[in-house]
């Protein structure tokens, strides 16, 4: 089903690579859904982790932010004009 194919990966087991035991959970994006105004800077600055729905509001892909994208994630966090984005220690974005 074409329209939902980009979301199949969200619920498919194994979509997020397993992390070794004892390793920290990594950093994930946390959205304040009330502050968020649908400006979309986050999706422009971190397209690997943030998609926009048809109304311009962010959908986070599952799993933590990969190491090599952390700097981009921090930039997205500081760019958000509504201060609606945070980077938190958590295994998955919410």
């Amino acid at each position: 089903m074409g329209e939902s194919s980009e979301l199949v990966g969200r619920t498919r087991p194994g979509a997020t690579p397993p992390r070794p035991r004892g390793a920290p959970p990594g950093f994930s994006l946390a959205f304040d859904r009330i502050r968020c105004d649908g400006r979309g800077y986050c999706a422009e600055l971190l397209p690997e982790k943030v998609l926009l729905d048809e109304w311009g509001y962010p959908i986070a892909t599952p799993g933590p932010v990969p190491q090599h994208l952390l700097d981009h994630a921090r930039r997205a966090v500081s760019a958000c004009p509504m201060l609606a984005l945070r980077l938190v220690e958590a295994p998955s974005s919410r």
Binding site: E3, L7, D32, R33, I34, D53, W55, Y57
Partner: protein, 404 residues
């Protein structure tokens, strides 16, 4: 001992049970404080407001905080299909007050807020009268506030926000109420039925609860005698329907948990036990204990469309995904129900309901999405018929219309 604890005692037409009768019938609580929390943990009691969170864990999370703490007894009951909380408050107010007082002393709270739905006049009156019968040192701790009418008013952060600011809007978390709630203090938000269960466990112990515990359900829809019933934990859904007068018509599906819950086909539902853990294992949710029967002559698509329209209207409009996503879902369902769908409505419904969970400040969109997904499963043939504009063979009365 009969299986009725909440509702045994004086008959409803005699009004609320007085404090004296309450003590005579049940005696005084024997478990308090830390011992009570441990008993609650062993009992496995889960919250009855809808989320089903373990009660002992909630209490511990508040008890271990520093500074003054607050208990909020949640009797808002914003779910339109549910009546159990107001029936409980109306007839057994002392059970609820006991539970609230026990909670306050166990978590170290001096203040108790009683949050009763504005439209539940009799329940509020009974609670106030019962409060007047309590000793002054207990009475002093209570504040009674009337929750605004609305589906989201009973949401825990909305309840806290109402107490703080006079308007019931959910807030972003963190912080959760157990961290900072009423007046910025750690707050235990607990449903009134959960508190009543606590009051019973404090007298009869956790072993009693595991073996003989009961819960309140609201049975509605195409059953003989819709109403609030007390059933032992684990009662199969079919038996619960029988208790409420049996089916008035052939039933095609049950809505379990209220608008926040989900549809289950009658065949599958009949033997499912009314138990939070068992239902969870089966991938379902007890929610707030609503069991609504949809007759075979009704249209599942139309019923779902009506519910979704209500939920979309009840959104407090703080978060884009809820306003637009839920709005789009309700509109598509409406078109499908009326027989004028757009070509991709069904496909989009599946996508929107998959995209919605977790993208609002509260779980309102999640509940709605869960309901819609269950409808797409249970009524999938009807949905395909509607999408193909092959019309609807069923009549289209809403779910809680009751017997024909």
């Amino acid at each position: 001992m009969s299986g009725s604890w909440f509702l045994s005692g004086p008959a409803p037409r005699e009004g609320a049970e007085t404090g004296r009768a309450h003590i005579q019938r049940l005696g005084a609580p024997s478990l308090t404080g830390a011992a009570l929390i441990e008993a609650l943990e062993r009992s496995g009691l889960r919250g009855r407001g809808g989320a089903g969170f373990p009660v002992s864990r909630k209490w511990r999370s508040v008890a271990e905080r520093r500074g003054p703490r607050v208990v909020l007894a949640n009797g808002a009951e914003g779910e339109p299909l549910s009546s159990k909380d107001r029936v409980l408050m109306r007839h057994r107010p002392h059970l609820v007050l006991d539970g609230a007082v026990l909670a306050a002393s166990a978590v170290g709270a001096r203040q108790v807020v009683l949050y009763v739905g504005r439209e539940h006049f009799d329940a509020a009156e009974a609670m106030l009268r019962a409060l007047a019968e309590r000793p002054p040192r207990e009475r002093r701790r209570f504040r009674v506030l009337r929750a605004p009418v609305g589906y989201v008013s009973g949401e825990e952060t909305a309840a806290v926000h109402f107490v703080n600011r006079g308007i019931a809007l959910p807030t972003s978390t963190p912080p959760r109420p157990f961290e900072a709630g009423v007046g910025g203090r750690p707050t235990l938000v607990q449903n009134v039925e959960s508190l009543a269960s606590v009051a019973l466990i404090a007298r009869l112990g956790d072993g009693w609860f595991r073996d003989h515990g009961t819960l309140l359900i609201t049975v509605t829809g195409s059953v003989g005698r819709p109403g609030v019933f007390e059933v032992p934990l684990g009662t199969p859904l079919g038996e619960a329907v029988e208790r409420s007068g049996g089916r008035s018509h052939a039933i095609q599906a049950l809505l379990v948990g209220g608008y926040f819950g989900g549809w289950i086909g009658a065949g599958e539902a009949w033997n499912l036990p009314l138990h939070p853990d068992r239902l969870r294992e089966a991938g379902r949710s007890l929610g707030c204990g609503v069991v609504a029967a949809l007759p075979a002559s009704a249209c599942g698509v139309a019923a779902t469309a009506g519910i979704a329209g209500y939920l979309a209207e009840q959104s407090v409009r703080q978060c884009g995904p809820c306003v637009f996503g839920l709005g789009a879902i309700a509109a598509a369902l409406g078109r499908l129900a009326d027989g004028w769908p757009e070509p991709h409505d069904l496909v989009r419904l599946e996508r929107w309901s998959a995209e919605l969970p977790g993208r609002g400040a509260c779980r309102h969109p999640d509940g709605a999405a869960g309901l819609v997904r269950s409808a797409l499963t249970v009524f999938d043939e009807d949905f395909r018929l509607h999408q193909a504009r092959r019309g609807c063979m069923m009549d289209r009365r809403p779910v809680a219309a009751g017997a024909a």
